[in-house]
C-alpha cells in the first residue's frame, strides 16, 4: 500500500532527526516535556499530511512544521490562560467542571484557528454576530462601517471558515 512507503520514509526521518529536533525544540521552549510532545506531533503531522519524499532539506522542513506547532502551542496556552483567568472571577456555582473546561478550551482553540486568517474587523464582526447575537446595524455602528459592509464581512468570514473545515476534512 502507498501508506507503507510513506510510513517508511517518515521512519527514516524519525530515526535520523528526531533527537536533533527535540533538542532544537527544547532550546526554544525550555521544557523537555513540551519539546518531546511537539517533536512527536511534528512527525505525526508528516504521517497525516504526506509530502513528496525524500526531502531535500529535511531539517529545514521539520523545523518549519515544528515552528508552526510551537506557535499553535503558545496560542493555545494564551487562550487557556485568558479563559481560566476570566473563569476565576465567576462565583463558585457558575464555574464549569474540569471536563467542561477542557472541552471549552478545545472548542475555543478550534474557533480561534478557524478565524486566525481573517482581518480584524471581519473577525470582530463575525464574533459580535455569533457570540453576542448582535444585529448588523449594531455591528455596523460599533465598527463604524456600513451595514452592507457588515454583511460582506459575514459572508467573507463564513466562506473562510467553511473552506478551512472543508480542507481539514479532505
Amino acid at each position: 500500500m502507498a501508506t507503507d512507503s510513506r510510513t517508511d520514509a517518515v521512519d527514516v526521518l524519525y530515526s535520523d532527526h528526531y533527537g536533533w529536533l527535540r533538542r532544537w525544540l527544547q532550546r526554544k521552549l525550555g521544557c523537555a516535556h513540551e519539546a518531546a510532545d511537539i517533536a512527536h506531533d511534528t512527525f505525526l503531522r508528516l504521517l497525516t499530511h504526506p509530502v513528496e519524499t525524500p526531502l531535500r532539506e529535511p531539517r529545514a522542513y521539520l523545523t518549519t512544521i515544528a515552528h508552526g506547532l510551537v506557535v499553535n502551542h503558545w496560542r493555545r496556552l494564551e487562550i487557556e490562560r485568558a479563559y481560566l483567568a476570566a473563569l476565576a472571577t465567576l462565583p463558585e456555582p457558575l464555574a464549569p467542571s474540569p471536563e467542561a473546561r477542557a472541552e471549552t478550551v478545545e472548542a475555543l482553540v478550534a474557533i480561534d484557528a478557524m478565524l486566525a486568517v481573517l482581518p480584524d474587523k471581519v473577525r470582530c464582526a463575525f464574533l459580535l454576530s455569533q457570540l453576542d447575537g448582535k444585529t448588523y446595524a449594531e455591528i455596523a455602528a460599533e465598527l463604524k462601517v456600513s451595514e452592507r459592509m457588515v454583511k460582506k464581512y459575514m459572508a467573507n468570514a463564513m466562506l473562510n471558515c467553511v473552506i478551512a473545515i472543508e480542507n481539514a476534512a479532505r
Binding site: 476570566a86 455569533q130 444585529t135
Partner: protein, 338 residues
C-alpha cells in the same frame, strides 16, 4: 489536496461561496419566512448546496458549543465585553421561527441567540436550585429551577425579563414617586404588576400567570390582546391567545419555599414538574397518566415523592439507572403492597 479514494468529492467552491452568502443574508436575525423559503429552494436545487450548508452549520456549531461560556469565552477570544443583551429581539426571533414552521431546516442562530441571552442572564439557576432576590426597590423575587432572569431598573421603569423558567414576584411600593411601572417580559407577553404577588412560568409553547395578591395586566406579544388577571386567578397563554383561565394554584408559589404542592395534580403533570427540578429522566406509562396525586412534599426529596406516589396509586415506580418510569402495578402486587 487530493481527496482520498472513496471519499466524497470536494464540495465545489461556488457552492461554499453561495452557502456563505446565504448565511450572511440570514444571520442578521431579522429573517422572514420568505427568506427561509428562498434558502430552502436553494437547498433543494442541488445536493452540493445541502453539503455546503452542512459545512456552514459545522462552523456555527462550533460557536454553539461555547455560547454558554459567557464572559470567560469572550475573554479567551479577546473580545470586548458584550453590551446590553438583545433579549427581546432574541425572543421575537424564536417566536417567529416557531410560527413560520419550516421544521426540517434548523436555523441554529435563533437558538444560539436565545442560549446567549440565557448564558448572559443577570440571574440563573441550575436544576433543582432556587434563588431569592431582593431588587433595588425592595421588591422580592424568587427564581425557580432552570430559570433565567434579567433585571433592568432605570429612573422610569422597573423591568424584569424572565428568559425561561419560573419567577415569583412580590412587589414593593416604589420609593420613587410617581411610582415607576413594574413590568415582567416573558416569551409570550408583557406583564404589568398592579401592587401584587404573582408567579409566572415562561416555557417554550405557552406561559402561565398565577396572581395571589393585587392584579397583573397581561398584554400578549403577538396579538396585543390584554387581560387583567386578579388575585386568586390564573391565565395560561401563548403569544397570540389566552388559552385558559381559572383559579390560581398555590403550588405555583410554594416551590419558592421548597415545597411541591400536588393538589389533585395529574401524574403526567407531576412527572413534568419533577423533571424541571431533578436531573433524572422521568416518564409515565399512558395508562397511568391521568391518575391524580394529592399532597405536599419537599421538592428536593425525589425518593420520598416517588415513594408516596407508589403508595397512594396503583402504580409501580421503576428505576432504570438514572431514569424513572412509572407503570401500572399488576393487580396482585398492588393488593399485596397495600
Amino acid at each position: 489536496m487530493k481527496a482520498a479514494p472513496g471519499a466524497l468529492r470536494a464540495i465545489p467552491a461556488a457552492a461554499l461561496e453561495e452557502a456563505a452568502g446565504w448565511f450572511a443574508n440570514l444571520a442578521d436575525g431579522a429573517t422572514t419566512d420568505a427568506d427561509r423559503k428562498r434558502l430552502q429552494d436553494w437547498l433543494d436545487a442541488h445536493p452540493d448546496h445541502v453539503r455546503a450548508w452542512k459545512r456552514v452549520e459545522e462552523v456555527t456549531g462550533r460557536f454553539e458549543s461555547v455560547t454558554h461560556g459567557g464572559q470567560p469565552v469572550r475573554a479567551a477570544l479577546n473580545l470586548p465585553r458584550a453590551g446590553r443583551r438583545r433579549m427581546l429581539k432574541a425572543l421575537s426571533v424564536l417566536v417567529a421561527a416557531g410560527a413560520g414552521g419550516l421544521a426540517a431546516l434548523r436555523l441554529p442562530w435563533s437558538q444560539w441567540r436565545h442560549d446567549m441571552a440565557l448564558a448572559h442572564a443577570d440571574h440563573r439557576t441550575g436544576i433543582g436550585e432556587t434563588l431569592a432576590l431582593t431588587l433595588d426597590d425592595g421588591s422580592r423575587a424568587w427564581l425557580g429551577s432552570v430559570s433565567a432572569l434579567d433585571v433592568s431598573f432605570s429612573d422610569s421603569r422597573r423591568a424584569l425579563s424572565l428568559l425561561q423558567g419560573d419567577l415569583l414576584v412580590e412587589t414593593a411600593k416604589d420609593a420613587v414617586q410617581p411610582a415607576r411601572p413594574f413590568t415582567v417580559a416573558v416569551r409570550h407577553a408583557g406583564l404589568r404588576a398592579l401592587g401584587t404577588r404573582f408567579a409566572v412560568r415562561s416555557a417554550q409553547a405557552q406561559s402561565r400567570l398565577d396572581v395571589f395578591e393585587g392584579a397583573v395586566e397581561l398584554t400578549l406579544a403577538g396579538s396585543a390582546e390584554t387581560l387583567v388577571v386578579r388575585s386568586g386567578s390564573q391565565a395560561t397563554f401563548d403569544a397570540a391567545h389566552i388559552l385558559a383561565t381559572g383559579q390560581a394554584d398555590p403550588g405555583r408559589e410554594s416551590w419558592s419555599r421548597g415545597i411541591l404542592l400536588t393538589d389533585g395534580m395529574r401524574l403526567d403533570a407531576l412527572i413534568e414538574e419533577l423533571g424541571r427540578w431533578h436531573a433524572q429522566a422521568m416518564e409515565c406509562a399512558p395508562e397511568v397518566c391521568a391518575l391524580r396525586v394529592a399532597g405536599a412534599f419537599p421538592m428536593k426529596d425525589l425518593d420520598r415523592i416517588l415513594g408516596a406516589v407508589q403508595k397512594s396509586l396503583p402504580v409501580r415506580v421503576l428505576r432504570e439507572g438514572a431514569a424513572v418510569r412509572i407503570v401500572a402495578a399488576p393487580a396482585a402486587a398492588t393488593q399485596g403492597r397495600n
